[in-house]
Amino acid sequence: MASKVLYSVRGPVPRKRDDFEDVLEERRKSSDLRYALKCYTPAVYRNLVPCKAGVLKTLVLQSEAVRYVIEQVAAETGETWEAVQDEASQVLEEMAHRQQLSTIRFFAFTLSKAFKALYRSVRVNEDGVQRLQQAIQEHPVVLLPSHRSYMDFLMMSYLLFTYDLALPVIAAGMDFMSMKFVGEMLRMSGAFFIRRSFGGDKLYWAVFSEYVKTMLRNGYAPLEFFLEGTRSRTAKSLTPKTGLLNIAMEPFFKGEVFDVNLVPVSISYERILEESLYARELLGVPKPKESTSGLLKARRILSEDFGTMHVYFGAPVSVRSLSQGHIGRSQYNLVPRHIPQRPAADTQAFVNDVAFHLVRLQEENMVLKPWALISTLLLQNPNGMELSTLIQQADWLRGLALSFGAFLDWPGEMVSKVISSSLAVHRNLVCVSGGRVRLLVPEVSGAECGAEEAEFNRAVSVLSCASYRNQALHIFVRPALLAVSMRSTESCRRDEIYNCFNILRNIFSNEFILCPGASVQDFEEACHLLVKCGALRELQQEVVMSSSGQTTLSFLCSLLEPFLQSYQVVCRYLCEDTQEDLPEKNFVPAVRNFALRLILAGSLSCYEALSSDLQKNALAALVRLNAVKQIKNSDQVILKINKTAVNSLEDTLGGKIPTQKPVLARL
């Protein structure tokens, strides 16, 4: 498997990370207007073929690739060539950006004001900026920021402008375009818009991919898009989408460029603008449609404190080095390169591996705030904690996180001070009263709304809080899977534990970023980390908990508990509550109701089971494991449930591990 070489087990020494500089500091000292109007002369790609945004469209329409598909479509549909070309031209018109410097300057000015109001500081690793500047001159660059907030791409362009780097063109979802005025503003600042789905539309695909590739090949500008495809509402990284990445790598596969640099960028927020919005969305309150008036209404948030934001530009990853030994580029020798070809299975797998690799790089460079650890602890103590206990445990957890290689921003030595400052930023979520810290739940006004409303409000708080815990999950997930496996197997035998680990890992592979095919590496990594922190001892064929390991392991088990429980709830619902066939669109509301009933009845205390994200991931896992089949009817998708299989999965999640023969020889 390709993955074996791509990912290496993390070494004992945490990787060296760069220092940060605050970009707002300068903004607070000098004129924003002068800054916005500064002389902007970025270093550009050395083989740049200079062309204007308008010429770009002509290049794309006249490209062999697009002309080929136009002809093909014309032949298939019987339309005239000109008609199809017009269509292509419209697609391009709808898609293309119209980047212009004046708009960028406008944004530079207004965003300066906004950022200063929102954030205490915006901290950037300037070494990463340096590397990026080098990379931009060397080869076409693809910027791959993490996506947690609308702020992400505004911030990216803002930073590149600030550092005098070439401004990116950004792939944005079509939903932005519907925002009057703002959509056009974004377009003029370099966004281009793509439809969310265009499955079978050959022409669309051809125009779109050629548009992207032309910009890359000519070194027109760095290309920016979000590997995760959409904003993560849970602050966990989402399973990467490979479509655009595939397009971006193709010019290298086909020899059209010498190399492509992929630059993962990790943007971490101390507090997310969309915090409670996300929680409500996860609970089924529909996402407000992107609209300009909505945006204007949201301006009240400008008066709130969103703490510090960190942007880490990762080291550029060369597609050439990654593909060494994985991709035989000569496979493209026998067909003219402009003819669209479905990527071969090995290419597909490779791109997928790279996508995971990059998301993991994003995760690794995500800066964790103390709050991520605090919220983790608070969620494990739903009834609140003594402040002193919290401080003590937070300090312990900090040590654990650091030994697992977390990139922790711990401002100052006094733990109590750090924690109270952190609590202050998040005072909308927690309160400290009488020396106890607990989650804040908005009181229900009017008692008749009843228990349901109260639980809903509680769930909003829990899910908001969970999104901060989730920021830290990638640090703990592998050891946690191991901890749960050890608890479930009640065995010390390495092969048995691995077996269970593998099963759990498989179930949760839609939930966490677990690179496909890297099960053994993940297991080794988990063992390595737990041995390193002193919780485990590794013997030849055995993994044994050390005397001091109990705290760590039970902490890790509780960390995964909400996930185990939520998945179990889904399984239970599917087994108990439904007839054979369930329309897919009913699935989420039905599970939510089921979970809510359990909570009201007092038999479930896990509010996260209400999260549509978890429910959907669980369903995806069940589909992947063939416990549920999706059957497409004419107008809807029906879920066919294999109750036996679902049942046995539920047992597995509950800690009953199916006895399985295969013992991997590799262990």
Binding site: G255, E256, F258, G328, R329, S330, Y332, N333, P336, R337
Partner: protein
């Protein structure tokens, strides 16, 4: 018909031709009396003696370098004033001072004239391993009257081609596995006899023609335990007959290119086959490697030129029964021979097409603002099928390289003119001197047609922003290919090693391949600790309907490297991988040899390789022709 034109015109064109393709040749002792002989070569009759007036004698050491390229009297050196000059009297450049070469050399490679790496002065006979002779074979060969030698010098001369590592080792006085004996057959029957005896005594035979291989094809396999006999075909160098009605000539395969052309010229003909190695390479070698000549646009490559081939193999002699111009008789058996690289037998006689000497020849050159435009122009020329005899496009680095070889200008006027030209192109036309590139052209044919043709090509060039840049630049471009190997020897005196390699590639990939390969070379050198950026340059050197041949030069300064040759080989290997990944072929005309055989399976598929192996197994089951090339 050429034979009808009057003699003086005839001789004039012959002289012109001589001047142009090999104006550097020695005057031949006899006037025109080439030793044409139509007599049968029979072992019983007195042995036919090799044609006189050949440029390369049987004892190559008399006039050729033992550890470098070409004639002993011709070499580049930096004189006491630090100026480069080319010694000898054979070439246009001979005896001239090249004032800009030093600056180019130091600037390009970061080399320094103080840092020398001189070669071992002479071959130390004691370093040569004693021959492992098969006494019975020696006896029988002697009895058959075949000339042979196990003199160390003779053997060392035939133990190598001109790959960098081969020459580098010789310069350091290192001698590896070499042939144990050299034999000089003087006719087809001699070869048949030698092959028979070798089979009988189970001895390894390695055919040797001009020794210009750059694919490790002549290297003796170190694992070979049998006695290795090098068959030097140089004494089989006669034109046996010329058939003016069919315009063919029947020639012994050991003839070297310059002799063949000169002798045919004397009768008013030429083959038009001019590989860059034609001063030394042989007809048999061309056949065995699928050679390509620079004027293939008019005359075709070797496979288009041959009408009939005779080859002696351990199974017997292979040849066709007639000289029909084309046949549908199953797969063409010539194609088992063409490119067989000495693994199946010895090519002994070839009938090849000849043409009357063209009446008129003219060089030309075109400057383009950049390489992309140049390639687009060549592609258009190929599309319109109006390529001149030769058209080559040098990239910017190679253009500058060529420029560095400009001899001292004799008059102020010429230097003034040069300055004016430069001003016109860079200032008035706005060409960036670091991007412009030059196409060199060679037209051939009737005077009128040449002029017409020239206009057509220049008109196309104009559409791609090309400007005519004079005959001189064109001619100098071609000179570069003849002296490049001498220049490498100069480089090796000063820590600079390099080599050339080539490929063929479809038109749409030419630019991408050139860029990627050049960059890969630079990148690999850097990664391997080469201190100074390498020279990494290419030219599009042949055009075809469906693609082009691209030729790379690659050289670097190896000061500070402990294993320069190893580094060099790694970089070349990487460059070849890059070529293949970019849709280029394993080789256009250099062949596979042992240097590139690891990629054969990938190149021709397992079945393809199996077919070739099956032929080898049938023709030579005991691996008598054991040079281990190709397969």
């Amino acid at each position: 018909m050429a034979s009808n034109t009057d003699i003086s015109e005839h001789q004039r064109s012959a002289r012109r031709r001589l001047r142009i393709i090999a104006g550097h040749l020695q005057r031949s002792e006899q006037d025109g009396a080439a030793a044409l002989s139509a007599q049968e070569c029979k072992a019983e009759t007195p042995r036919p003696s090799a044609a006189k007036g050949t440029a390369v004698p049987k004892r190559r050491q008399e006039i050729m370098k033992w550890n470098g390229w070409g004639y002993s009297d011709s070499r580049f050196l930096f004189n006491k004033k630090g100026q480069a000059e080319f010694t000898g009297r054979r070439y246009r450049l001979s005896g001239l001072i090249l004032p800009s070469l030093k600056d180019w050399f130091e600037g390009t490679f970061g080399a320094n004239l103080q840092h020398k790496t001189p070669a071992t002065a002479s071959l130390s006979v004691s370093a040569v391993p004693p021959p492992n002779l098969n006494e019975l074979l020696v006896e029988e060969l002697k009895a058959a009257g075949v000339a042979l030698s196990s003199n160390p010098e003779d053997r060392v001369f035939r133990s190598h081609g001109h790959c960098l590592h081969e020459i580098f080792a010789l310069r350091e006085g290192r001698i590896g596995r070499i042939p144990d004996m050299v034999v000089w057959p003087s006719c087809h029957d001699d070869v048949v006899k030698i092959v028979e005896l070798a089979s009988k005594h189970n001895v390894c035979l390695i055919p040797y023609g001009g020794g210009t291989s750059v694919s490790s094809a002549l290297e003796c396999p170190p694992e070979e335990t049998r006695s290795i006999v090098s068959i030097d075909t140089s004494q089989m160098n006669r034109i046996l007959w010329i058939d003016e009605k069919n315009l063919t000539a029947h020639v012994e395969a050991g003839i070297i290119g310059q002799d063949l052309e000169r002798q045919l010229n004397e009768s008013g003909y030429c083959t038009g086959h001019e590989p860059d190695s034609m001063e030394f390479s042989t007809l048999g070698g061309w056949v065995a490697t699928r050679a390509s000549g620079m004027k293939k646009n008019i005359y075709g490559n070797i496979e288009d030129l041959v009408v009939h081939i005779k080859m002696a193999t351990p199974r017997g002699v292979i040849e066709k029964s007639c000289q029909g111009p084309r046949m549908s008789t199953g797969p063409d058996i010539h194609h088992f021979i063409l490119g067989s690289e000495g693994t199946l037998g010895v090519v002994t006689e070839v009938t090849m097409k000849i043409r009357p000497i063209p009446e008129y020849q003219k060089y030309g050159s075109i400057v383009f603002p950049n390489f992309q435009q140049g390639v687009a122009c060549l592609r258009e020329v190929a599309k319109q099928r109006c390529a001149p005899a030769s058209i080559r496009l040098m990239d910017n680095e190679q253009f500058q390289f060529g420029h560095a070889l400009k001899p001292q200008v004799s008059s102020i006027f010429t230097s003034f003119l040069d300055g004016l030209k430069k001003f016109y192109i860079t200032k008035f036309k706005g060409f960036d001197p670091h991007h412009l590139c030059v196409a060199t052209l060679l037209f051939e044919g009737d005077r009128e047609k040449v002029l017409q043709h020239e206009k057509q090509v220049y008109d196309i060039a104009a559409k791609f922003g090309g400007l005519a840049a004079g005959e001189d630049n064109g001619q100098r471009g071609y000179m570069l290919t003849f002296v490049i190997a001498y220049l490498r020897d100069l480089g090796m005196d000063y820590y600079v090693i390099g080599e050339s390699f080539e490929t063929s590639v479809p038109w749409d990939r030419v630019l991408d391949l050139c860029r990627n390969v050049k960059e890969r070379i630079v990148r690999e050198c850097k990664d391997r600790g080469v201190q100074f950026p390498p020279l990494s340059t290419c030219r599009v050197t042949q055009t075809y309907d469906a693609g082009a041949c691209v030729y790379f030069y690659f050289a670097f300064n190896y000061r500070g490297l402990s294993e320069p040759i190893h580094v060099y080989e790694q970089v070349e290997h990487a460059a070849r991988e890059e070529i293949l990944a970019n849709g280029g072929s394993l080789s256009h005309h250099h062949g596979v040899g042992k240097l590139r055989k690891e990629w054969m399976r990938e190149s021709v598929s397992s079945v393809g390789l199996g077919m070739l192996k099956a032929v080898k197994d049938y023709v030579d089951p005991n691996n008598i022709f054991g040079n281990r090339n190709l397969l």
